[in-house]
Structure formats: C-alpha cells, structure tokens
Amino acid sequence: MDALQQLINGLTLGSLYALIAIGYTMVYGILRLINFAHGDVLMVGCYLAWFASAQFGLPWWVSLAGSMALTAALGMLIDLGAYRPLRSAPRISALITAIGVSFFLENLGLVIFGGRPKAFARPEIFNELYHWGGLRVLSLSVWVPLITALILAVLLYVLYRTRLGMAMRALSRDLVTVRLMGIDTDRVVAATFAIGSALAAAGGIFWAMKYPQINPLMGIMPGLKAFVAAVLGGIGNVVGAMLGGLLLGLAEILLVAWMPELAGYRDALAFVLLIAFLIFRPQGLLGEKTT
C-alpha cells in the first residue's frame, strides 16, 4: 500500500515536470534554442495568475487563461527584444542571451514582487481528497495528467494538422530555405515563443497549485528539471518530454522513499541522469539519432 502511494506521489510530481517540459522541448524542437528563460517565464505566469485571482478575485480558469495570454505576449516580446536581433548569429549567442533573459526576469521579479513568497490559492475543484482504500489522492493529481494529455493532443494537432504547424516543422529543418519560400519566419518564430510561453504559464500555475507558494526564483528548479526531462525524452520531441517528465518524477520520489539516507541527493539524481543520458543515449528515449 505504501509503495503504491509512493508510486502515485511519483506520478503526480512527474506529470508536473512533463507539463513544463512540453513547452521547453517544443521551442527547442523548432528553433534549436534551449530557452533557459522558460522557468522564469513560468514564474511570471504564476504571478500574473496570482494577481488575477488573489488581487482581483477572478475565478481560477479566467486567471489561468488571462495569464497564458499575457505570458504568450511576454514570450513574443522576449523574442522580439532578445532573440530576433541574434537570429543569424551563432547558436551559442542565443543560448547565452537566454541565460541573460533568465537573470533579467528573476531580478525584475525581485524588484517588482519582492523577495518574500506569496501564498497561491488552490481552487476547490483541485483541492478534494479521494480515499481509495488506504490511498489518498488529491484531485489535482488526477487532473494534471489529464490536462497534460489534453495540451499534448492540442499541440500535436497544431504541429501536424495546421499550416502554422507545418511552417514550424519546416522551419525546424532549415530556416533560410523556409524564408526563401516566402514564409514570414519571424511570425512563425514569434508564434512558437507565444505557444511555448503560454505552456510555461500553464505548467507553472499547476505547479503553484500543488506547491502553493510562489517567489521570483521559483522557476529555476522546475525549469532545470523540465530541461532534464526534455533531454531524457529526447529533446525536441513533445511525447518524449512527457515520458521524460514522468520518469524523472518517479525516479526522484522512489529514491527518497526507498533510500531515505540519499534523500539529500535528490536534485543531484536529476543531473546524474542528465549526464548519463548525454553520454550513453544523447538522443534520449524517443529522439532520433542525429548525424
């Protein structure tokens, strides 16, 4: 029974990682840019939702939608200000810029929101406790995988069934050629960032509902873990990101549950896994071998 409960705990955490990792990996898959600011965009999304619900008293789904929309706009703004001027620069420049954007958002958050954590309210619908035998499951833990699956389905639909998605996939192969075909690549890239950022906001808000405190540095760890999850799954592969997230969540919980004396190495485990994958299976679980 206890082992089963721990499995549920692991899947709960894993599905949150998965939700965040999907946005991370999508941006990478299309632009080949590891967007280190993803976790900080997530933080901004959480604060926007917090303002909407705690300050203006909006219902949770309105604040979720509003926050996703505003965060999408923020994503486009970041692209416009930070990445577009570097589109033709080497990839490493964009990567370093992403780290810069990350620091900028963190410190801007500290200035605007202050350094002390805020309590994030959990809506009633996600706050119910189900008892199954001796097992206890929070309704949020049931909803998160469903929402993750829904987002994944919508994302796959957009990528494989719409013209925008086709443009995105084409762009991931060769940006210059796509531009020569008369496609406004800047618009497609902006759309990619908009979707990626909205996904970050969604992931962050559900994270904050589970772990109900938000602070300006809250995005760092979930962001890094989502990055690890994305690499485990095969970076650029959205289904892989989901698998990687679940795997990472389970691995962390089971490490702490079965080897309590190693509990302090929980974050290290994620990075050991990352290194092991980079050495032995760099393409990840579902990624294609690059030549």
Binding site: D2, R116, P117, R136, Q213, L217, M221, R266
Partner: protein, 386 residues
C-alpha cells in the same frame, strides 16, 4: 503588493547609491562623521522573511537610538540573497569597501558561519540577531549573538513534546542543507530519547524542496505521534500541507525558524495547532526599551507603514542593534577590538526581549517561548527559563 515591510529592493539600490555618493564626497572637516554599521541580511531568496523582519526591527531601534559617542549611526544594508557565498561577499564588501565598524546579521546559522571569517580576519565584530546553532560562535572572538542557542531550544522542544503533548514516538524531517536544522534535530533527538521517547524515523530534505510526499509517506508508515520540523518557514508550511493531504494526523512541533507570517499564509488550515519554540512574544517585552519598541511598532502598524504581526525576528533585530550601540558607547571607541571587548562584557543589559548577558563565548542566555498557530495567529503558550 509587497506583504509587509517598507523595504523594497529598490530602496536598497538607493541606499547603496547613497552610500557610494557619500564615499565620493570630500569629507567636510566641520561635519561629524557618522558611525557606519553594516547590515548583512537575506532580503531576498529562501529566507527573505527573516531578513526583512529583522531589518524592520533594526530600523525601529535605530530611530530609538540614532546616535552613539555623539555621532549619528548610519546603517549600511547589503542583501545576501539567502545564499552563503553571497553572504561572505556581502561581509567582505561591508568591511573592505564600506569600512563599517561592526556588522549586524546575518539571519541563519549557515550564513553567519559564511560571514564569520571576514569578521575574524579584520577584527570587525559581528552580532547576529537570530543564528542559533552553537557552532556559530565556537572558537570565534568577534562573533556574537543576542538569541538563545539550539542545545537549549532542542531541550525545550523535546520536553514540551514529551510532557505537554504526551508524545512517545517522534518523526523528524530535517533540512540537511541548513546547519540550523541539522543541529536542532540532533539536540531535540538527544533530549527526547533521554526522556524515554523514541524517534521512529528521521527523514531528510533540502532547502528549496517543494515536494515532501516521499518523506511523508515513509513517516506515515512509521506511525509517529509527533512530527518535529526543525526547518525554516517555507519548508515547514509546505510539509504541513502535504502531511495533511497524505492523512498524517500527528501534531507538528517546529523551531524558531517557523516564526514568520508566511507559515500561516502558505500553510493555511494545515498549520492550525502547529506549535514552535520561539524567541519572543509581545507580552515578554517588559523593559523600558521593550515597551518603547512595542509602542513604536504599533504606531507604525496603525499608520499602515507596517502590515504584519510583530515576531521574534523584529524584536531580535532591534535588540542586536541596541546591544551593539550599547557596547560601542561603553567601549568609547569605534575600534573593533574595543567594541569586541565591550560586547563580550555585556551584563544585565535591559534589551527588548528581556535582560541579556553575553558571555566570553559570545552567546546570550535567554528564555524560550512556545507559540502556537491558532486561527491564523501565533498565540502564546508558555515561557521556559534556561
């Protein structure tokens, strides 16, 4: 928007800019030079509440006693971001660049240990308001504190758990990245076992962890009748919530690290009934200075300048300032070695939380208070003398 204190990070920037400007100015011979006192506190990051509350208390105390040796005292604040490396950097900056004669802060034991070598090496006395781990002052000449220490706090907690709560099987969840939590857990365990209790499981976590479900699952399986959490407020609040979700019904006992409004804001109904050992409750402020401090705090609250309940961190922040200023006055000099000597000879100083005696080991001897979260407020339970 910001929950409590008047200090926002941009205020620090202005302060810092002002300090730079000051240094850039040619000294006017006629003007009295202020006594510069450095303040090294976590204003942002994981334990930002400690730094901000302590700073609020210091500012009130500064208004109460703005002068020493006939010169104005000037506080120079540097944010250590709740990070040990940044804390050491902040200490170096205060000593080397700002040329402060003494340093107040940092808040946590790990931070003081990071800052201590700078104070020792440059003979600049450091007075921490709230670092409770015994190692903080051990073998140090220039490190002092105005709070009790964890061997005492752990004993108080264990006795309260065993005698008052009737606990016999305790579970402990320790944040192993904080010297404070590791030390306090050990002192609690020692006394609890000496009394005849049993620690059925000792689980570990780290600062910044958000998910404790695995540890709590193990704890629940062991069936304890008490959960001891010697950690800081964010972790304590999250643990309390997740314990409730997992159906762990044992009462929770915590340490002075829980004493922040965030415990209740984040913990919500899950922290109802959570008790903790604390430094202070307003009814223990009996001295003249203590009453003046309370009046000033209440005035600031009534006028809307301050928004949160008075905690031990406010009181100790004020007390660390007052004890330092008192020592500088007795030393009659701003020389590090002389201030140090005066600090080490602090005897029957009527501070805010009571009478303080600082021994040559740098530690203050003080009573502990037990507080309990009841209906969204910290209520006084009892005071225990050393």
């Amino acid at each position: 928007m910001n929950s409590g204190t008047p200090t926002k990070p941009w205020t620090l920037l202005i302060l810092w800019a002002a300090a730079c400007w000051q240094l850039g100015q040619p000294a006017l011979a006629a003007e009295v030079q202020p006594v510069l006192v450095g303040v090294n506190l976590p204003m942002t990051g994981q334990v930002a509440a400690f730094g901000q509350m302590t700073w609020t208390g210091m500012q009130i105390a500064h208004n109460m006693k703005p002068e020493v040796l006939g010169r104005p005292v000037k506080l120079v604040l540097v944010d250590n971001k709740s990070d040990n490396v940044e804390t050491a950097n902040a200490a170096s900056r205060l000593v080397m660049k700002e040329k402060t004669v003494a340093i107040l802060g940092p808040s946590t034991s790990s931070q003081v240990m990071a800052a201590a070598p700078v104070s020792e090496g440059n003979q600049v006395p450091l007075v921490s308001a709230t670092a409770t781990n015994p190692i903080v002052t051990q073998g140090k000449k220039y490190v002092f504190r105005v709070c009790f220490t964890d061997p005492f706090q752990g004993v108080v907690a264990a006795r309260y758990a065993y005698d008052k709560l009737g606990a016999r099987k305790a579970a402990i969840l320790t944040d192993i990245s904080q010297d404070y939590a590791v030390g306090l857990a050990a002192f609690f365990r020692k006394e609890f076992e000496r009394l005849g209790g049993k620690v059925v499981v000792q689980a570990k976590c780290a600062t910044g962890d958000q998910d404790f479900s695995a540890q709590l699952g193990t704890i629940k399986a062991a069936g304890p009748d008490l959960l001891y959490l010697p950690n800081y407020y964010t972790e304590d609040a999250l643990v309390a919530r997740q314990a409730q979700e997992l159906g762990l019904k044992a009462p929770i006992l915590s340490g002075d690290g829980a004493d922040a409004p965030e415990l209740i804001k984040i913990g919500g109904p899950a922290v109802e009934g959570l008790a903790f050992t604390a430094h202070f409750h307003r009814q223990s402020a009996s001295s003249a200075l203590g009453r003046e401090f309370l009046t000033r705090y209440d005035q600031a609250r009534a006028s809307g300048q301050l928004k949160e309940e008075l905690t031990g961190f406010h009181a100790l922040g004020a007390e660390s300032y007052l004890a330092l200023v008192d020592a500088i006055a007795r030393a009659g000099s701003t020389e590090g070695a002389k201030i140090r000597k005066a600090l080490a000879g602090t005897k029957d100083f009527e501070g805010i939380t009571g009478r303080i005696n600082i021994g040559p080991d740098g530690n203050a001897v003080k009573s502990a208070t037990i507080l309990k979260a009841v209906k969204g407020k910290f209520e006084f339970v009892t005071t225990i003398e050393p």
